[in-house]
């Protein structure tokens, strides 16, 4: 690293014209991105940002759809099991309760957080943030909430839970009479909408809109 090159390269540029890679700390001149374009760090390949159109409007539609799907996905039966005339059903919620009652409270709490609480909180925060941008109220709370959101991202595990459902079905299908419930359909729909929402709601545009730095385009 040659320190003499430091002022020459970046002097005269304002902070707004610069961007640093979040993952490797490389400093760059901010590239201008047109709609739908993806900007990557030239050193480590980390995605710096993607510029999308109609972010607020599209995210709002998706977040409302996801919230509507949340209740049926978690409380309608995912599967019914029938063994010698006795029938049981499984929902995401009964899974948590079952673990809790069998003496594994700590594991039940982890499952509850990863499969129910965090996904719901994430959706509620996204909804609140979008509302705050849309109606232009409480942006400081929006910033705080959106920070919390970024810490929860890792811990929502709907897609892993879906794989768990598949493994459980395979394990049970030979042992007893098994039928799929409406809950599974809603769960898959919730998962798809949530992934789509995550792709649509590009963070750097939300941050800029929240802080009022930049008029969000296309909305």
């Amino acid at each position: 690293m040659d320190d003499a090159a430091l002022p020459k390269t970046f002097s005269g540029l304002k902070l707004k014209q610069l961007i640093a890679c979040h993952e490797c700390d490389l400093l760059l001149r901010k590239p201008s991105a047109s709609a739908g374009q993806r900007v990557e760090c030239p050193r480590c390949g980390y995605e710096l940002y993607t510029h999308r159109t109609q972010v607020i409007r599209r995210s709002m539609a998706l977040v409302i759809a996801a919230l509507l799907l949340y209740i049926p996905a978690n409380f309608l039966p995912i599967m019914h099991l029938n063994l010698l005339g006795q029938a049981t059903k499984d929902t995401v919620w009964t899974g948590v309760i079952g673990l809790y009652n069998s003496g594994m409270q700590s594991v039940a709490v982890v499952v509850f957080l990863c499969s129910m609480a965090v996904p719901l909180l994430k959706l509620l925060i996204q909804f609140a943030v979008l509302l705050s941008i849309r109606l232009d109220i409480g942006r400081s709370y929006g910033l705080l909430l959106y920070r919390i959101y970024h810490h929860m991202r890792e811990w929502g595990m709907l897609e892993v839970y879906l794989m768990g459902i598949l493994v459980a079905i395979v394990k049970l299908v030979d042992l007893a009479e098994l039928s799929i419930g409406l809950g599974l359909v809603c769960f898959i729909a919730l998962l798809l909408v949530q992934v789509w929402l995550e792709v649509t709601m590009s963070p750097h545009q939300i941050w800029e809109a929240l802080s009022g730095e930049d008029e969000y385009e296309g909305d």
Binding site: D25, R43, M104
Partner: protein, 207 residues
């Protein structure tokens, strides 16, 4: 050039650039209000601590039964590995492979991988920055999939609940395994990937 060399700090939370103020002890982001650090404080020590705890719990997670199947008075205990073997015996090879990867390969790979990352950052050796960053991203991305077995247990305990006819009870192995997964995920989050690049001199081409 690194942002830190230009007197700038990037916010962990919203990725905004902030000029470093030398005189203030604590500094907060001008955009989102999050606390700023040029590098995450004590990243290596914290990651080591979480990693070692996970490594200790890794043993009971694999040795103790994760669940017991009670059927008509007989009880059969399953560890993680015996669950995979049982799936193979049923002829469910693809599902057995998925469970094997998620519950055995991934946790082991994470423990070894994070150790290698920490070691190579501290010793400035032996992998290239590109290899290390690929490994870091892979570990960060795949970590959550280890929760698979825990979710399977939750579903089985709820649905196989026929009283004395058949029931499934979770074992202490499940608790240890869940702890390993959570701890290794925390270890990956505490590790600051920018440390990987701090000791390499390959960044001159990008200025």
């Amino acid at each position: 050039m690194r942002a830190i060399d230009a007197g700038l700090m990037i916010c962990h939370e919203c990725h905004q650039l902030n000029p470093i103020q030398a005189e203030s002890a604590k500094q907060f982001c001008t955009r989102c209000g999050g606390q700023l650090h040029a590098r995450q404080p004590n990243s290596l020590a914290r990651t080591w601590a979480l990693l070692l705890t996970a490594a200790v719990l890794y043993i009971p997670a694999n040795v103790l039964p994760i669940m017991t199947v009670n059927s008509l008075g007989k009880g059969q205990s399953d560890t993680i590995m015996s669950g995979v073997i049982e799936l193979v015996n049923y002829g469910m090879l693809p599902i057995a492979a998925v469970v094997f990867i998620a519950s055995i390969l991934v946790p082991t790979f994470k423990l070894v991988g994070i150790t290698l990352l920490l070691y190579s950052v501290q010793r400035h050796q032996p992998m290239s920055a590109r290899q290390r960053v690929l490994m870091y991203r892979f570990i960060e991305w795949i970590g959550r999939w280890s929760m698979l077995d825990i979710f399977v247990i939750a579903i089985l305990v709820a649905v196989v609940n026929f009283g004395s006819l058949a029931s499934i009870v979770p074992g202490y192995g499940a608790m240890a395994f869940a702890s390993v997964v959570v701890l290794t995920m925390l270890a990956a989050l505490t590790f600051d990937p920018r440390l990987i690049w701090d000791n390499t001199d390959s960044d001159d081409h990008h200025e």
